[in-house]
Amino acid sequence: MTCQEAIDVMGEALEGRLAADLRPGFDEHMAECPPCATYLQHLQMTRNALLRLGAEDGGNTRRQELIDAFRREFGGK
């Protein structure tokens, strides 16, 4: 696998969705190419930081308004 080919499938590799037939070539390339291996590591850490953003809490000040609207639509059950 070349660097370009490896980078093309890096997104899938990050997400754990790399096709099984590509895995050996990808792993081999990562083992022998420090720039690609570093890049993959950067992307993994970037993705983990992005996932972390999603863990932040956000309040919903209009929640009750919605539940009331739902009750009205469905006859107040």
């Binding site: 980078i7 997400e15 972390r52 999603g54 929640r63 919605l66 059950k77």
Partner: protein, 234 residues
């Protein structure tokens, strides 16, 4: 927000259709934040983003009886949001004479164009981030702020796919349906978005003062750079 979440939501459908407000509250509580995150990619106005989400939920309430289950419940709800957001954000932009953000697509990649093989990919090799503990990156509010800012600066489409896939962990196939994208387009947009956020983190981490809490104190100068010319065959 995984495939398992979809199964859990879809099992709530009969209860929702029967008017069970506790079931509705579960769905609202689980989806409100990701919906708001997606709405914010369509507008810079926090108030308008809130309104988009509220209108989405009202659309869900009105549409539940007619929902045929051809997509998952979550995809259906996100798709309603995208339609509402496009209409409401466009209307708002006209009202305030704000030019909508570029919708990206072909905007140049920060670091590469997927599939367009070229020789000399690593003319400048990435330098390892000298972190004592990789987890420290996610515990640093400052680093997360860098990430958030980088996401906010992305072109609209890249921002949308990144928020859905990486921040909210929505499955790729659902994102294709929600944003009406091909898998190839999704891959390219994700590649570009992640590359830009990575670049921002790279600048931040390597520009951080020596002895910064997250760094191990080793020099992160350019000494470890090397020129690498890929023997690319494509």
């Amino acid at each position: 927000m995984s495939d398992r979440t979809d199964l859990a939501f879809d099992s709530l459908l009969p209860r929702l259709r029967a008017g069970d407000d506790a079931a509705f509250a579960i769905v609202v509580d689980r989806l409100h934040r990701p919906l708001l995150a997606l709405a914010r990619t369509f507008t810079s106005s926090p108030a308008l983003a809130e309104d988009i989400v509220q209108e989405t939920w009202l659309g869900v309430i009105r549409g539940l009886r007619g929902f045929e289950g051809r997509s998952t419940l979550r995809t259906w709800i996100f798709s309603i949001l995208v339609r509402r957001a496009r209409t409401m954000a466009a209307h708002d932009a006209r009202q305030s004479f704000v030019t909508p953000a570029a919708t990206d697509g072909a905007a140049g990649s920060a670091e590469w164009t997927p599939g367009a093989g070229k020789i000399g990919l690593w003319t400048e090799s990435p330098v390892p981030w000298a972190l004592v503990d990789p987890a420290s990156l996610f515990q640093s509010l400052e680093a997360l702020e860098v990430v958030r800012h980088a996401v906010d600066q992305l072109p609209e489409r890249q921002r949308q796919v990144l928020v859905l896939r990486d921040v909210e962990d929505v499955p790729a196939k659902d994102i294709c349906n929600i944003l009406e994208l091909s898998e190839t387009n999704l891959r390219v947009l994700l590649h570009r978005g992640r590359a830009r956020v990575r670049e921002a983190l790279d600048r931040y981490l390597r520009g951080a003062p020596r002895g910064h809490a997250m760094m191990n104190g080793r020099s992160t100068s350019h000494s470890s750079r090397r020129t690498y010319v890929s023997g690319d065959k494509r």
